[in-house]
Symmetry: D2
Subunit: 339 residues, 4 copies
């Protein structure tokens, strides 16, 4: 960390802050010139938030030299993290994984029809909401535990892995019993209580980016889980909130490149929540592959107009099948393997 | 809800969606003209999300006629909600309540010094974080249960009410034992699991607006709690995330007026988290009073440079005392009562 | 337009607004039910801004039925607009055009080296700033008229078309003398004085999206030019401003799909200004092609570290050449033609 | 400016960038430690944009030590800038100036009625649009030169100063003939061509903040005008664009405090464009006074429902009169003088 003092700041102010830092077992290296009083902080600065140093009189600006995340950082680990799952599925590296399924699990029949459809089209991971975070308390809230059981049942029937969103830490044991990947929803990205608890789980975590989270905060949330011991994290970009209203959110496709630069963790894209319009999914999926994402999570429904949630952004099965064919063609020339 | 069909949409498409709605026990009123096919939906539309109707072929636009929240709505209740607390403290109406205290509870001595200071300056509610939501897992996470006990102890000593943030639903019984108002932090505003559980609590809830929540979503989160039976909610504006970086967040002062127009619930302002700079708090507090907020929640510390969190935005006790004097003067001409 | 009156609004209020509308030669169609007073406005509503109707007492909500733009609208014209330029270059349809060159024209030698490089790599249109919009008045402001002359000279030498940004309406005659496409910069997207004047020009216009413009506003700016008679407009997405700071702006890649849905005009992407980092350009260009953009405008420099502006986002010539090879491979399977 | 090199960057990379800087007559001060290679740049760095230095291999981060604006900066001038106008009106310091009038000048009669109303209520400066920047080319564009003449005529009749928005640089001589203060609209805040030309004018400039401009960019736009020699600038906050749609824009009230910290220039607030709802103006005006703004610019109309633009945000004359009374009461206790 580099701390620059204000013009006109005093020696006493300088001493105050530097003595505080030394009392925290940090080393201070003075690099002041005649023009400006400035110093570097050397040591483990992860416990200090730059914001707190502004409380000291005379401080003009505090700049981080290193990223605030450690285990999630590219410099922590050689090579990309690749997550190995059942049925030989891998997430990360040159693989391009496709997760698909309904927004909500509605019934055994519904789930089976959709799961067969996505399996036939080439997907290997089934998604579906059992506990639904809805903005209205009066809207359908999901089948809850019954939904988990159906996911497992259909998953086993068709040799599909399953991923679904967890609403709170107390349900971790239940989720571990039924699912292959535990999803943290965008609205829970900074539910630190949940993140800490997931750090103790053995299941890979799919961590969605918050609606207005910076990339750094997103990686700090991954760090929370990793700090607890669970290093199998798949990041998922799902669009950020902006003033543009034609799409539900604004897909920040560049975030894939930022994450790959900053971290060794795999990163996938959720075009369904980003766009909120099924007509855009096919093209956004191709763009996701082209930009270098490690995969997709896509909403698919056999009958979107009767879906209990998010029908507008769900692909019909035949459209999903076409999308997979388009992906295959482009993956070929990019030397990526779709699974 | 009003549904407008696309130009060139067919009778079949119209029949498809209207029959679906009728099957949900809703009434459809056709108001089409030659130029456009359009209809209204009459009945309890709270279980339908406009987004879902876009899944139907031929739909151009879906517009809400009424707000999606009911119990939180101005039309639900005559007059403003006024929350009655111990020591005769009231929140709402013409009262202007000031909550103050440290970002984090650090020790009994620290809390007592600060609590005495704010009490003497005229505040009646003590704030202080016991469970701290920090972006870094390596930063100070709070004294947890010990922090709650200290808040209660000092609160009882000095006849101050206490408010503090809850991290998860399983801690509700513990919080109910120690605090007078339970705070939901900005990052948990859409932790629906927590909101539902708080709907069963007897304690008033201080509900912070999420970093990028719309006013409608914020009121929907209040609705979640109210739907469960707890109607004592204090809304708190604490700044929203924008591209502007001079301040930590952008204080949306107009949201106070929006909330007062849309809802009967009281709404206060947190200038400390909004600005992130203590130098701005005095003036932003005056503006909060002038705009018609029902109160403030402010960070105060006797020694901000040694605070364990958010020192940069904490007022020293003497500055807080000055702020209270400024508020008193303006409150007088506005016929508000500071407490 | 559909106007919904408030609950409790009066007959008098209804009469007031509807008589006003009739006085503007618009037809009013009452579609009120018992639950809600509501009416449609039929006729040419392009001269009415919904915002103005909110001035009438009793108005709850005003909703547009049709887009506010006409000539720019998909419904105005069958098929896509294809712009035909010299040397047989076409923009629109299945063509994928690449414009490339330095941020600023710095010297004849610099421009010739870069122009040869991009020509050899397969680009047909040369970009380069002559009048530079810089945030600081003390930064290099461009070679101005000399820059225009150099662009034309090198363009003619190498059979390249040239595009450059215009700063104000009085320079249109000069620009028409030297350039093939006139660019309107993001900061001038709503310089309506300039847009009106360009409506009288015979040159195609490259219209960049403003930093925080909605897609609708962007198309309204196109409409301004088209209303004046000039219908050859190329839209250019260049990233929007958000709170994310890792990239210079956030590339809104979905806007390409929105524009293609709403309008018949071609739309290209500027990944250089969006990302602000040359390391991201290759992948973002592939994504742009995959999503269906009609082309790219990319910054290229032979020596970015000595560029007079925006060095950080400029590709070296060899990297640009690699990018073109990657594009060729993917274009093949997508049945697009790169030019 | 401080430049920090990447871990693993080479001596050659360090030499490359530092030699470049020396060739620009800047001094380089090496302050590297074992942990990190870092140096400061000393001298006039105003011609260098940090972004350009990122083009050099090995650069990790570039941080400004001083603000990019000079003449607009607090450190440039002792004390606040106070602008002295005819009739003894002053803007800046402890004065609180109120500018008011219709969105658009529509007719002599309309303007006279409104001007008399605001004069009687206590305002001294008349606003009114003559050249209107409308998002639709089909909407009313203003009376243009006739509007300027009417403003001058009514202003002279009633001893009111007049302020109105200029659309382009070629109209400066005309504006100088008719108006007392020339306004730069939000959409032209970065029309650098216009700003440069206004630097040569003798009239004070009212500079609105752009829809998504940072405070730093806003002050840089002031710097453009000041660099040309015109140092009489009044900054005007008018709301920024966010995702919140209940208000037209989000009033960034804290920006007043930021400007007063960073600059010596006066800063006023436009609550009408910020809120877009006349019902909010009274309270937002009080908040503007309380936060320390140097004044207001407010839309007033005698008959908002028949206004040709922005009726929804215009106060009726009686409401404006009430607002002025409220302001007087609060100004008294704050020791501000309303004019």
């Amino acid at each position: 960390m580099i701390v620059q003092m204000k013009k006109g700041s005093t020696k006493k102010e300088y001493d105050h802050i530097t003595e505080f830092l030394k009392s925290k077992n940090l080393e201070v290296k003075d690099v002041s010139s005649e023009a400006v009083r400035i110093f570097g902080i050397i040591g483990d600065t992860s416990t200090i938030e730059p914001a707190d140093l502004y409380a000291f009189d005379g401080v003009q600006e505090v700049t981080r030299v290193s990223t605030p995340f450690k285990k999630a950082s590219r410099s922590f680990k050689k090579g990309d993290t690749i997550i190995h799952l059942n049925h030989g599925i891998e997430i990360g590296g040159d693989q391009f994984v496709v997760m698909a399924g309904p927004c909500s699990v509605e019934s055994e029949e519904q789930l089976r029809i959709i799961a067969k459809g996505i399996k036939k089209a080439g997907a290997h991971i089934l998604r579906g909401g059992a506990y639904k975070p809805r903005t209205s308390p009066y809207a359908f809230q999901g089948l809850e535990e019954d939904g988990l059981k159906l996911l497992r049942k259909i998953g086993d029937e068709l040799d599909l892995l399953v991923v679904t969103e967890i609403p709170s830490a107390d349900l971790i044991p239940l989720f571990e019993q039924y699912v292959d990947i535990i999803q943290v929803g965008a609205r829970n990205m900074q539910n630190f209580h949940l993140l800490k608890a997931l750090g103790k789980s053995k299941k890979p975590i799919l961590l969605k980016r918050g609606l207005s989270a910076t990339i750094e905060e997103w990686l700090m949330s991954a760090e929370y889980i990793m700090a607890g011991g669970n290093e199998e994290i798949i990041l998922c970009e799902r669009g950020i909130r902006t003033y543009e209203k034609y799409t539900r959110n604004t897909l920040d496709i560049s975030s894939v490149l930022a994450v790959k630069d900053l971290s060794h963790l795999p990163v996938i894209i959720d075009p369904s929540h980003a766009a909120g319009r099924w007509t855009m999914i096919d093209k956004l999926s191709l763009a996701s592959l082209a930009v270098g994402a490690h995969g997709l999570i896509v909403e698919v429904h056999h009958d979107p107009t009767h879906a209990l949630s998010d029908g507008a952004q769900s692909l019909k099965i035949n459209k999903f099948t076409e999308m997979m064919e388009h992906l295959e063609k482009v993956a070929d020339v990019l030397e990526k393997k779709i699974q």
